[in-house]
């Protein structure tokens, strides 16, 4: 599946904004990204969210990701 990342992370992915990852859930997306692109690890360790088909997930490792899902990596969201 394709995972979109935000622009400032492209310097760690050879300029690519869409990455191919084999994953069935949130955790596998993050693991796959960190393995294929070690430069993303510091950001992933600091915290990221994942938008799955338009809905934002902050932590749910087992949130299902389908092959046709729109998957977008986002910074870890905080509120007030």
């Amino acid at each position: 599946m394709k995972v979109k990342i935000w622009g400032s992370l492209r310097r760690f992915t050879d300029g690519r904004g869409e990455l191919e990852v084999e994953a069935k859930n949130f955790k596998q997306v993050l693991d796959g990204l960190a393995e294929q692109y070690p430069g993303l690890k510091p950001q992933i360790e600091r915290g990221v969210s994942l938008a799955l088909d338009g809905r934002i997930y902050r932590e749910s490792w087992f949130a299902e990701v389908r092959p046709d899902s729109e998957v977008v990596l986002m910074p870890y969201m905080t509120g007030g």
């Binding site: 400032s8 430069g39 510091p42 950001q43 986002m74 509120g79």
Partner: protein, 748 residues
């Protein structure tokens, strides 16, 4: 057992306006806030704070203070360890300076004594030798390569070379071809804007009572938006196991994001540990301003291109945020939110976080979004003026809708922006006439909203009443809303349900009350806890009747046969089932623990009318209307209160509120006389218009409503003032001197 699920749910309790359960206690002064708790043998804790914006602590001599009769403990950073985790280390260092003071008001030592007078006298006896360092409080100055460095070694890998070490992180969002987009524009406007740091301005100062026993067990009472977070942070700082620290949240006199972290709580615990006595600490207003979180100060450049008929062809923004002396990610939120209300083919935002010698930023309602959207909506308004277009029509023409690729990455699902725009267009406010020196401003706003970790226990009492225990401090009326959802699901009257906030030992972890999450997430968990209890009650009645569970249903507070084929049984009420619960298997309770996701984003639009006195520069807000997509409004009074409260705070932010630093880097206005929040006489009636576009991620369609309302006022006010004056305002707050200066500079 069958759950009867209706397609179009007809609510009986949700959507009504019962009296707030905490209202009377708060009105008559019986409610217990952070400073209202006492303990036998209690000491008073006070903090010595830095008079310098930036200085090395050469030495601290506490001997004279310790020798003063009545002083039971004195602590400095040496009484704490050094956490490995950088985020925790930042929080601790913010509570007590280690090696350097990083801002005016930074804590350097603390005293526990038998009276406030003794504690204050002891503070004067503490000798601190400082070596003053150059300081920087302005975000743009702090980015320059030769700026004084606030803290070293904190730069993320995302930052390109060439900046000061104060620039700790960089982010970029967006899509499309900007160059091609701008080439299609008939008019392009570029503007730079600044916003001052503002404080959340809660009425209740931070207060706590800490009591640590000789065996290492401790109790902490405090006003907070999240007592589980307080427990996690304090136990880590104090080197305790979380189970040994019990934290109880008091009633809270406002938080707005500012009580999502700790300031005095670890200090009070350390003083209690050292003295062996309970220690109470209550911040003064001066301390609240100098040492607790204001929001970020910002500097932003926006460039937008538009066709003659109002279609935005390209848009970009460069955002520079300072969250004070410690790293923060608020600029990421601003950079994502900036263009969220728009459907754009080409959009880009760039954001930098910058360290300055100011207190560590704390969240403030939709952190980062108001400042970004202020700058964007100001330029959109200016384009509308120059091209002779109706600003509301232009928003409609460019509005994000279901299926829009958002400016921050995901494609929007069901969203309510268009509904709010249409409601605003149809409202009489939009077409009402204006007089001389008056202007009308408009702005859209957006916030993400979150869910998060939540535990709920719902007990069916033996008389059939219902007790709900949850773990989120009630800062906006959540006890009523949660009771309503429990009553709705169970089919019982609202009056039969009481919701309480448990301490950290009485229920499992719940995330902070923030992100507009409580009505959504705690409500969701409450509904599911109620369904759990219903399932148990159905099961017991089925057993009594000797039929399958599948043959009974729950309806309006009764278990009934699912159909005539199930048998002829008299329905059993919740009271009847509860009364015999000991005989049918024991007490009945429902539970639900969840990390609730899918909160659903929220949009709002505001219309503001102002009159500006050209002689004095004073602005009067004449009329204000808020339109917001609230999802299902569980308790409309509270929803309206959130909409009005956010607007009121945003009006203060736009017109008067600001952290003012002197050349010496010291805060010049740490009090409500000089830091002017709007009072009732400054405000018109703020008319709330609730739009209910259901959130598909919640059983009742609930969305968060607490933060979106503070996003549009900054631009709505600035656009109104700019139109009244005929001068584009680019700095907040628009205090009278700022307005007069802008008018003078424009030669109007």
């Amino acid at each position: 057992m069958n759950m009867r699920v209706k397609g179009e749910r007809a609510f009986k309790v949700v959507g009504t306006r019962p009296p707030r359960p905490d209202g009377v206690d708060k009105v008559i002064g019986r409610a217990l806030y952070g400073a209202d708790v006492s303990a036998p043998g209690m000491l008073t804790g006070h903090i010595l704070r830095s008079p310098h914006a930036h200085a090395e602590i050469v030495s601290i001599d506490t001997s004279a203070a310790e020798a003063l009769p009545g002083v039971k403990a004195v602590i400095t950073s040496g009484d704490f360890g050094v956490p490995e985790d950088s985020a925790l280390r930042d929080v601790q260092d913010h509570c007590m300076a280690r090696g350097k003071v990083l801002y005016d008001g930074h804590a350097v030592a603390a005293v526990a004594a038998t009276s406030p007078a003794v504690a204050k006298a002891a503070l004067k006896l503490i000798k601190v030798e400082y070596r003053k360092l150059p300081h920087v409080t302005d975000v743009d100055e702090a980015m320059k390569p030769d700026a004084p460095v606030v803290q070293s070694g904190l730069v993320h890998e995302t930052v390109a070379p060439g900046f000061s070490e104060n620039v700790t992180s960089y982010c970029e969002f967006g899509h499309g071809d900007l160059e091609a987009g701008f080439a299609k524009a008939d008019r392009i406007i570029e503007r730079s804007f600044t916003t001052a740091a503002t404080h959340q301005g809660y009425i209740e100062p931070h207060a706590c009572l800490a009591s640590m026993n000789a065996d290492g067990k401790a109790d902490l009472w405090c006003c907070t938006q999240g007592h589980y977070h307080v427990r996690a942070v304090c136990s880590a700082i104090l080197g305790m196991e979380a189970s040994q620290l019990k934290v109880t949240a008091s009633e809270i006199g406002g938080g707005f994001g500012g009580k999502t972290t700790v300031f005095i709580e670890p200090v009070a615990l350390a003083l209690s540990r050292k003295s062996g006595r309970p220690v109470k600490m209550v911040m003064s207003r001066d301390e609240v301003f100098r040492a607790t979180g204001p929001t970020v100060a910002t500097s932003t450049d926006v460039k937008i291109g538009m066709t003659k008929d109002g279609r935005i062809t390209a848009a970009e923004a460069r955002l520079r945020y300072s969250g004070g002396a410690f790293p923060c990610g608020t600029v990421e939120m601003g950079a994502q939110a900036a263009f969220a209300p728009y459907d754009l083919d080409a959009v880009r935002t760039y954001g930098w976080n910058v360290l300055t010698n100011r207190p560590k930023e704390a969240s403030y309602r939709a952190p980062g979004a108001p400042q970004a959207i202020y700058a964007v909506e100001s330029v959109v308004d200016e384009l509308c003026l120059e091209l002779g277009l109706d600003p509301l029509d232009v928003r409609v023409k460019n509005a994000a809708q279901k299926g829009t690729l958002s400016s921050y990455g995901p494609t929007f699902d069901d969203i309510g922006l268009m509904a709010t725009l249409e409601a605003a267009k149809a409202h009489p406010h939009w077409s009402a006439p204006l007089g001389p020196n008056q202007g009308r401003g408009f702005s859209a706003g957006f916030w993400f909203n979150f869910g998060g970790n939540t535990c709920v226990t719902l007990n069916i009492n033996t008389d059939g009443t219902v007790s709900v225990t949850e773990g989120n401090p009630d800062i906006g009326g959540s006890r009523a809303s949660i009771s309503q959802m429990a009553a709705e699901e169970l089919g019982v009257p609202y009056e039969k349900v009481r919701t309480v906030i448990g301490d950290t030992t009485s229920i499992g972890h719940s995330d902070i009350t923030d992100g507009s999450r409580v009505t959504f997430a705690v409500g969701l968990a409450t509904i599911k806890a109620a369904r759990d209890a219903i399932q148990k009650m159905c099961s017991r009645v089925a057993q009594i009747w000797g039929i399958d569970e599948e043959a009974v249903v729950w309806e309006d507070g009764y278990v009934k046969p699912a159909s005539p084929n199930a048998g002829d049984f008299k329905p059993m009420s919740i009271e009847e089932i509860a009364a015999i619960s000991f005989q049918t298997g024991g007490p009945i309770a429902g539970h639900h623990e969840v990390n609730a996701e899918g909160a659903g984003v929220s949009f709002g639009v505001h219309i503001a009318d102002v009159e500006v006195d050209p002689e004095t520069g004073a602005t009067k807000v004449l009329r204000y209307t808020v339109f917001q997509d609230a999802g299902k409004a569980v308790h409309p009074d509270y929803v309206e209160g959130q909409m009005q409260g956010g607007a009121a705070q945003g009006i203060g932010w736009a017109l008067n509120e600001e952290y003012i630093y002197g050349e010496d880097g010291r805060l010049q206005n740490p009090g409500f006389l000089d830091y002017r929040v709007p009072v009732a006489s400054d405000l018109p009636r703020i008319e709330p218009v609730i739009l209910e576009i259901p959130n598909p991620g919640h059983p009742y369609g609930v969305r968060g409503v607490g933060e979106t309302s503070i996003v549009p006022p900054l631009a709505a006010l600035s656009n109104a003032v700019s139109r009244a004056l005929g001068v584009r305002m680019t700095r907040l707050p628009m205090s009278p001197p700022t307005i007069l200066k802008a008018v003078s500079a424009a030669g109007v």
